[in-house]
């Protein structure tokens, strides 16, 4: 089932790549210059790194039947804190640690609202989404704070053959995949998403798990916020990470993770994030005004969602009557 869910995003990604090659034949070319890998595909990866990272955190939140709207605001806060601290004469390392610890606190706050007070995730995180950006603006006093720190710049703009940003995102993705799929953690997270009460009665610490995923999501958002601000060596509290929560949620959904919780696919999320980023880049290359990207984004999202919808699957299944064996074992009650 999960395999076939990945089919449509994969088709979308392939179609986008083919379209790009048709428009710019040199699209897939890669060259090495000063020990760095250059090319359009590398750019896609680099610009998509924050979205990938946030989407990984979001995937786990969504798997517990939650949602985190505050990630964009948290990203803005992380960038603002780091840049304000560095601009005030602090070292880059302390700035990063400071920013990330604040993000952990924000994640604890979200997790507290959701898991202890039992507030609906959309609303609980809406609080921080609204107030958080206001807080970031207060911190930077409405200014765009620029910093000159070569060390800080490495996070978002540095290269180790590949851009450091994408290496961080992929490392997190792989770590999460190993941690949740090689241990029982992933299954526990899915169990909480299927039925928090039942899993609690079965002895799963659902409260701790929910709390942890929100902290993790906030931490991912924090690192992504550092990437965004370090890429331009500035903190723009107003625009940094604006709508990135929407992109991340879209990536998660395109990747076949149901918003109803209970199952998730990290590979799907990566694919979803790549589809979104490639789409954005494609629209730029074709030469459509940047803001019109949104129309294409909407169309792709609707198309992929409709194709993935159980109703469509039923219709398709009626057509071809060949029952396929599902190779994946832990298929928990799909919503």
């Amino acid at each position: 089932m999960m395999r076939s869910r990945l089919l449509w995003p994969l088709v979308a990604l392939a179609a986008l790549l083919v379209l790009n090659v048709a428009v710019t034949p040199s699209f897939l070319e890669l060259r090495i210059q000063d020990g760095h890998l250059f090319g359009s595909t590398v750019d896609i990866l680099r610009n998509g790194a924050p979205t990938v990272l946030i989407a990984v955190g979001m995937t786990l939140v969504v798997a517990t039947r939650g949602i985190d709207l505050s990630v964009g605001a948290v990203a803005a806060i992380a960038g603002s804190i780091a840049c304000t601290y560095i601009a005030g004469g602090g070292s880059a390392v302390t700035a990063v640690l400071l920013a990330l610890s604040v993000c952990v606190l924000l994640g604890l706050w979200n997790g507290f609202l959701v898991s202890v007070l039992g507030i609906q995730p959309i609303i609980a995180t809406l609080v921080l989404m609204t107030a958080g950006r206001g807080g970031a603006m207060l911190l930077t006093e409405g200014q765009i704070i620029t910093v000159k720190s070569s060390l800080y710049r490495e996070i978002g703009a540095g290269f180790l053959i590949l851009p450091i940003a994408i290496l961080i995102s992929l490392a997190v993705l792989v770590a999460v995949a190993l941690l949740t799929r090689r241990t029982a953690l992933g299954m526990l997270i899915e169990a909480v998403g299927v039925n928090p009460m039942a899993s609690r009665l079965a002895g799963v610490h659902s409260r701790t798990i929910i709390w942890t995923v929100y902290v993790f999501a906030a931490l991912c958002a924090g690192v992504a916020g550092l990437m965004i601000s370090s890429n331009v060596s500035a903190a723009d509290a107003n625009n940094a990470g604006l709508w990135i929560e929407m992109d991340a949620i879209l990536a998660v959904v395109i990747g076949g993770t149901s918003l109803a919780g209970g199952r998730y696919s990290l590979a799907g999320t990566l694919l979803g994030a790549l589809v979104i980023q490639t789409l954005t880049t494609t629209v730029y290359t074709i030469g459509v005004p940047a803001n019109v990207t949104l129309v294409f984004k909407a169309l792709v999202v609707i198309a992929v969602c409709l194709l993935q919808s159980p109703r469509t699957a039923q219709l398709l299944q009626k057509r071809r009557k060949s029952p396929r064996s599902t190779s994946r074992s832990p298929e928990v009650a799909a919503g």
């Binding site: 959309i122 809406l126 206001g134 207060l138 929407m246 990207t293 984004k297 169309l299 609707i302 919808s309």
Partner: protein, 325 residues
């Protein structure tokens, strides 16, 4: 307020969140009148309505959707699209009435589309309306990337025309339109089958369907109502700004959702009142007025205060309605 009179049989406890919102409104307003001279004037109250008439209309539409347990993230973008269509159509020399009809038809049509996808393909409202939001914003920029000003004389007359009330208080026509929408919504929600079905779906969709209520019609209908309200709200906003622009009302959907939640409507659906949403908008408006009266405070405080208010009201809801899952 009118809902109180309309359904006297319900438990008074159900009105607690709405009443709490009114109390908060009175308190914030009281704080303002205590601190600043000239705050407690009829005109300041009137301005709350004048400056937020579009928000009231949007909040009414959102209340319908949230009552069924759904959510509509597209309202701000559809409102922006409405300002854009209105401005572009008037610019192209369309008669104002035709432009207004085109705007309302577009908004309702978008709502219908989203409702159909949500209902017939079982895709979450969150995602569908998110896509609707992207689509509407994108369409704005497809019409024009720049801001288009509205020069049509009848639009300008409507925008600048004022109604003098006794005591030197003036209102705009937008306020009358917004209040008419509120009254119509109260009527529909409490005195029609459609309204009853909306509440029933929010309570339990499967029970409502098993009871033989027309759930499909109501479920798709609420998104049409919300689309219509967004379009109308957009028109009021275009009267307020006298321009159409794709970046109008960015983040407005969050203000609207905040107003509805502060107004005591449960996001799980099934419980809430339009009057509460109006009160919610008034609370947000008062906070904004307070901060502008203060003068020294950065306007970002508005966001923070809204966040804190949201939190307070959610906590209150948890206390009042423990029995809900």
């Amino acid at each position: 307020m009118s809902t109180l009179a309309l359904s006297p049989t319900r438990l008074p406890q159900r009105f607690l969140p709405v009443m709490a919102t009114f109390v908060v409104f009175v308190i914030t307003f009281g704080v303002g009148s205590f601190r600043y001279e000239g705050f407690a004037s009829g005109q300041v109250v009137a301005n709350l309505f004048v400056d937020n008439s579009f928000l009231i209309v949007l909040a009414v539409g959102m209340t319908f959707v949230i009552l069924t347990g759904g959510i509509d993230l597209s309202v701000g973008a559809v409102a922006a699209l409405s300002t854009m269509i209105a401005a572009a159509a008037l610019d192209a020399g369309w008669p104002p009435l035709l432009a207004v009809l085109a705007v309302l038809a577009t908004g309702t049509g978008l709502g219908l589309l989203m409702g159909l996808v949500i209902h017939h393909f079982d895709v979450q409202p969150f995602i569908v309306t998110l896509a609707g939001m992207f689509l509407a914003r994108g369409l704005c920029f497809l019409i024009s990337v720049e801001s288009v000003s509205i020069d049509d004389p009848s639009f300008r007359d409507l925008a600048t025309g004022t109604i003098a009330l006794p005591g030197g208080v003036t209102l705009t026509y937008s306020v009358l339109i917004a209040l008419a929408v509120v009254l119509a919504a109260v009527y529909v929600l409490h005195l029609t089958r459609f309204g009853r079905t909306v509440y029933a779906i929010g309570g339990s969709e499967s029970s409502a369907r098993l009871m033989g209520l027309a759930t499909t019609r109501a479920k798709v209908g609420v998104y049409m109502v919300s689309g219509f309200c967004s379009a109308l709200g957009g028109l009021l906003f275009s009267l307020y700004m006298l321009s159409g622009y794709g970046l109008h009302g960015v983040g407005m959907e969050l203000d609207v959702i905040a107003a509805v939640v502060i107004g005591g409507t449960l996001l799980a659906g099934g419980s809430g009142y339009v009057a509460g949403s109006v009160a919610g908008v008034l609370v947000l408006g008062t906070v904004q007025t307070l901060i502008s009266f203060e003068g020294t405070l950065s306007s970002w405080w508005t966001k923070i205060v809204i966040g804190v208010l949201l939190l307070a009201f959610i906590a209150l809801q948890r206390l009042v309605v423990r029995r809900r899952p």
